[in-house]
Subunit: 387 residues, 2 copies
Amino acid sequence: VAGDQNQSVMSPRTAARRVECARAVGYDIRLTTGSVSLIGQQLADAVGERRALIVTTPTVNAVVTQPIVSAASQQLRRQLPVLIVAGGEERKTHDSVEAIADAALLSDLDRTAVLVGIGGGVCLDLVTMAASSIRRGLSHIRVPTTLVGLVDAGVGIKGALNFRGRKSYIGCYCPPELVLLNQAFLATLPDRHFRAGLAEIVKMAIIADAELFALLEREPLFTTEHFALRRGQSDTIVWRSVACLLDELESNLFEDLPGERLADFGHTFSPVIESASAFSVLHGEAVAVDIALSTELAAILGILSCDTRDRIRAVLRHLSLPLSSPFLTLPRCLESLDAARRHRRCKLNLIVPAAIGTGFCLVEGTEISDALLRGALAVLAQDLVVR
Amino acid sequence: VAGDQNQSVMSPRTAARRVECARAVGYDIRLTTGSVSLIGQQLADAVGERRALIVTTPTVNAVVTQPIVSAASQQLRRQLPVLIVAGGEERKTHDSVEAIADAALLSDLDRTAVLVGIGGGVCLDLVTMAASSIRRGLSHIRVPTTLVGLVDAGVGIKGALNFRGRKSYIGCYCPPELVLLNQAFLATLPDRHFRAGLAEIVKMAIIADAELFALLEREPLFTTEHFALRRGQSDTIVWRSVACLLDELESNLFEDLPGERLADFGHTFSPVIESASAFSVLHGEAVAVDIALSTELAAILGILSCDTRDRIRAVLRHLSLPLSSPFLTLPRCLESLDAARRHRRCKLNLIVPAAIGTGFCLVEGTEISDALLRGALAVLAQDLVVR
């Protein structure tokens, strides 16, 4: 009798019922060009009458968080409490989530309260995890202050903790109510972290937006100062990248539907680089290396023309991103492909470029031999051009 | 420009986009009358080819879990791994979730794997929390082995941890894929815990099922032996209670829609009794005290007839459940009402009986004075009948 829909059936041997529910989720992403104090006003408008707790990291607190919170508190005529949590991948633990829960208790947050994360990927991951579990779910608002946060980590619905050296082994899907994007926050970002963020933009351009790729090729300089000076241009780059990512994510936000995910491009070999380097290689740097390798594989397999492969490599060089890493050895490549198969429910689903703006999904059955990988790694290590 | 649906808009000052998604969830609940080994076969059918990890507690391991896992492993021709976690409310912590995550790593669980919780409320809470966060969500199956588990904790979608002495301060909504109900598991349940479980059945009977209430009144004896001997009768009691609860929960499974929730009956004053007693008062015992108090308040306010109030008290006595508790003082009652207002988004929504089988929601504005509460507490402490 099992499987009957929405009714209770009782027989001498068994009773069965199926519960069904559709949960609607939605959230807003806004890019503004205003100053930091304008963001404070937007934040105050969003928080309204609710209790709130701001969570931020020491690096951005003085320059970004304090001005925003000050403007918001002034408009709301009450001081919003701020919790400063330490940054760093090694802090993405349940202990850090509990530190936020302690502050939530101290600030007497009720179920209508809102958590506000102002910071980079680590801060936003922790706030998302805390929001997903405190009182079985608080609302949260994200204000990313890194380029990776602006174009990637901040705009999706995932939160994560690391566990026993495994990146994001513990995690959640928890949509924010609002994401406030503003490039004014990038002013404090170290140049290396800024460049790492560009890798996620390159990723989206290659698989989904040829015009964005052309913008990246044409933009003369990639530094935070230059981005700030050419605000119209850089806002367009950021927003196109965000829009492409959301187009990819929206149809399978909770990753519970089958099918390829183009946004996985650059994320097959990168996790092992990060963990093998004990996170000394930044996420975006690892993604750049992954993009270079996946692109090389596509060229060797004849899926991608050599000219296009060269354009992709040239853009990575133009953005001062790495093409190879000593941490990405052949055994780690094989390990990554194996992990991808298991992670992606027994399917390889390796995304490679087929052209600029077009991703291609290598399904199970494509042979990626040791020799193929060894060749690609050697070519990239020396930045050779093989035709 | 904010709020535009599913499109990207770029203007000189702002760009905005809204992401929308509906996530469908569903799960099956099955009550069987077969033996423990039959449950093992059902479990094996459900697990199939997937990797699995069984999580259980020491108290039920030998008598319930081992026979089930043995039957399931035999059918699957592979040994299913078992993790034994300590029981007790004080173990509902992130540390216990991490113990499950460690075992998941050891058993090499991939994203298609399934966690199986075999145990009481604490075990199922931990498994639900682990399933909601390991690898951003594993599937899970619940096999409740307590009466509270069978009729309440096991059939909903919530998981919880306690935090800084606050019951369920950390929690999640995470539907299982399957719940297997079978009264054979109750054989090992201490009598006091069995009776505590009856309180949740009384709760559902009072607010939603007059016929179930009559069954409780007529049933001569409430012990696990008696329940086992009169299996047809007791299965009907359990299934009616489950069906009533699911009717209540299904329309607002994630508790994110506004409105009263009849299943909150008996759960306004009970949390403070549990925490004030350091969990020496069982959840069901606290619920019984709450039912008695809410019923008395309804009688005093003229919502419930005195005859019906007497029938409710008589059933609680018939089931050997408490009507009062030294831990439920007047200040704690007031604190509970205040917490309920905050928990239920600033609305009182105190559920009281209006008749047998009919719940009534006291909305904000109803005055529940100190004198009223003091009177009701005094009457119940002495089990007086006031008309």
